[in-house]
Amino acid sequence: MKADPRGVLAGVHFLDGDQACAEGALAAGCRFAAGYPITPSTEIVERFAQRVPLLGGMFLQMEDELAASIAIQGAVWAGAKAFTVTSGPGFSLMMEHIGYAAMTETPCVIVDVQRGGPSTGLPTLPAQGDMQQARWGSHGDYEIIALAPNSPQECFDLTIEAFNLAEQYRTPVLVMMDEIVGHMTERVVIPPADQIEIVPRRYTTKPPADYRPFAPEADLVPAMARAGQGYRFHITGLTHDERGYPTTNVAAHDRLVRRLVAKIRNDATRLTRVEEHFLEDAEVIVLAYGITSRVALRAVQMARARGIAAGLLRPILIWPFPEARLRQLASRAGLSGILVAEINLGQIVREVERCVGGRVPVRLAGHAGGSVHHPQELFETIVEMAQAVEIER
Amino acid sequence: MHSEAKPAEGAAEATTSTRSRRPRGTIVLKPERCKGCGFCIAFCPPKVLAFSAEFNALGYHPPELIRPEGCTGCDLCGLYCPDFAIYGVMLKDSTTPPADAARAEETT
């Protein structure tokens, strides 16, 4: 299905990442947002609140992030596409409802414009410290989808992608921006509506008598009903059977949780979205995402100019992690190490180490937050890693 | 003991004998749902209910209609019963089913 042209501001624009994200949501057909103000994400809903009444939608400013992250789910069950946006402290408050959305298979989008933490931290400065929280933040077992844009253009593109993935898998999808990507202004090209592919909601075609709200289809995702259509369905965060009824049966719990995980995990390879630079002959691979990938690319280019075979791997879709691709790269002859650059003190690097399994050295270029890495610093680490191998040889 | 869709005995008698006092209503029980709270017995305006001697599967004594002729079918028992195990009906409304009776029965 193509995008509704009313929501698509086609043309070439000069937007910051937050604004582009709002435009992405509108282009994706989102007509309901609820939020609570928090730096550096607020500009997203400010733009949304400006634009959406003209499209027959609404923004509702709630009393806190707990309310915002559940109000959007009410709107979804009424038939709307909905999202909320926040930053670290609010993201922490939203964890319960990420779990509720995962459990009740409520398609929705949550944008986290990351800032320095822990706690109130650095409200106006960047970090990438919520990456593992994005993966594991709500209690219990579930699988999640998270995207990490590195430019305003991608804030637009990946927000649409997030809505599409949410509908396809009936899951909450997280857009993990950061303060710099959110606040940097660049050229953003918004294509015409007929070039934007939209995944519609998977509504059941069955009559109410035959409908079982959590009976999965072939791809493990059940078809939805919406309130007010006579389906008389029950939705609960308790462990439930295919009718949606609560159960404490261990086998039913096992079946449900395994399905919630498998519907996404089984598709991890299909979900892989990476950007690769100079990987054909790379001896040192730098893995970086979000804003850090731009600094890392500069460092890789500096290394190449010095004759060092460095390359960049950028996960665009970060959860599920591009495990298969990384394993493939790590098992290649001639690779001397992987350098993970991220604005935290070691989060995605743990995932890289797990995937690589000791086959090549993995090194972290961590940063506690507040700014990006300096390309020089990453360049020097790349040189060190390349030299260490030279010496060994 | 009376169960769903089977009227209390007094009601049946009433249709065959016009000489005895005609009950104005009766109750219908789903005894297997009863948890024996006694609300229906305590708050029945004409006091026509009492605990029966029998146990249900949950181990409670469901109520029984001890004075069928006194039941007015006011349905206060139906409003009070927290377990949806009893309700009252007025017999004057009940001898002729409404047009959608069949449909209504399906929902029970």
Binding site: G56, I70, A75 | -
Partner: protein, 291 residues
């Protein structure tokens, strides 16, 4: 001939997921009683049940949603109201009922309660107040009367409880009533009035918790609680809500306290947008959702 006697079904059956009976509530608990009233009120108000949605939070009363044969949502603890807010605003043709307990709505969900009342979101909020956290084993709650014993105030509750009608009115509710589980006809009547009214409506129903509140305070069983409600209740419609606070085993003022008119959130939003945007404004989210 008994077979010719037609007996209409129990009005509550149409509202129940009968395949989930018997329910989990204790003998003598009043939550089921309130559901009888709810069923009869829906019937009396002649609402299309396909357009009635019930939203609950967590706790004993939170289980109402799971037993009601409606589109029903058992949400997270305290968050029934913001979920219901999203639901109602995204599809205003729905009648959205929030049915939950005192701990859920007023303690963990207290912030949402006051803000939804302030905005006058068109929600019918039914609070079953049993003075205690039942599902978790009888802990002190925001409505536990001072001096009452609970598992976490074993020497008596030192706190002043919320006076819920006063709270609701102060926050902006357009309809506020209180009854006890004893007042089944009055509850039904109030529910019908709520269904017919637009805006944030609040009904508090005092209800027995025989297993935890009654027993720990040596107040007998559920029936004893109902008898207390019967004897201690004084109906005073229009009583100033400030004066309807509840004390331990004290008198209970019941009645309809507030019934005023005030535009709902959606009405005000539509007005505001139409006034500001003029011809550019083509309507609220409803049309979009329906398309």
């Amino acid at each position: 001939m008994s077979t010719e006697v037609y007996l209409p079904p129990n009005p509550v059956e149409a509202l129940l997921r009968t395949d989930r009976m018997p329910h989990i509530w204790c003998p003598g608990c009043g939550i089921g009683t309130t559901m009888n009233c709810f069923a009869r009120a829906l019937q009396q108000a002649r609402l299309d049940l396909d357009k009635v949605v019930i939203v609950s939070g967590i706790g004993c009363s939170g289980r109402v949603a799971g037993y009601a044969n409606l589109d029903s949502f058992h949400t997270t603890h305290g968050r029934a109201i913001p979920f219901a807010t999203g639901l109602k605003l995204a599809n205003p043709e729905l009648t959205v009922v929030v049915y939950s307990g005192d701990g859920d709505l007023i303690a963990i969900g207290g912030n949402h309660f006051i803000h939804a009342a302030r905005r006058n979101v068109d929600l019918k909020v039914i609070c079953v107040n049993n003075f205690i956290y039942g599902m978790t084993g009888g802990q002190v709650g925001p409505t536990t009367p001072a001096t009452a014993l609970t598992s976490t105030t074993p020497y008596g509750c030192p706190e002043q409880p919320f006076n819920l009608p006063y709270l609701a009115e102060s926050a902006g509710a357009v309809y506020v009533a209180r009854w006890t589980a004893y007042h089944v006809r009055q509850i039904t009547h109030s529910m019908v009035e709520m269904f017919r009214k637009r805006g944030f409506c609040f009904l508090e129903i005092l209800s027995p918790c025989p297993t935890l509140y009654q027993r720990r305070n040596r107040l007998g069983d559920g029936l004893e609680a109902m008898k207390y409600y019967k004897e201690a209740s004084v109906t005073r419609h229009g009583a100033p809500t400030k004066e309807v606070a509840i004390s331990f085993q004290g008198p209970i003022l019941v009645g309809k306290f507030v019934d005023i008119e005030r535009p709902t959130y959606l009405e005000l939003l539509n007005q505001q947008l139409a006034r500001t945007l003029e011809a550019q404004y083509t309507g609220c989210i409803e049309d979009h959702v329906r398309s």
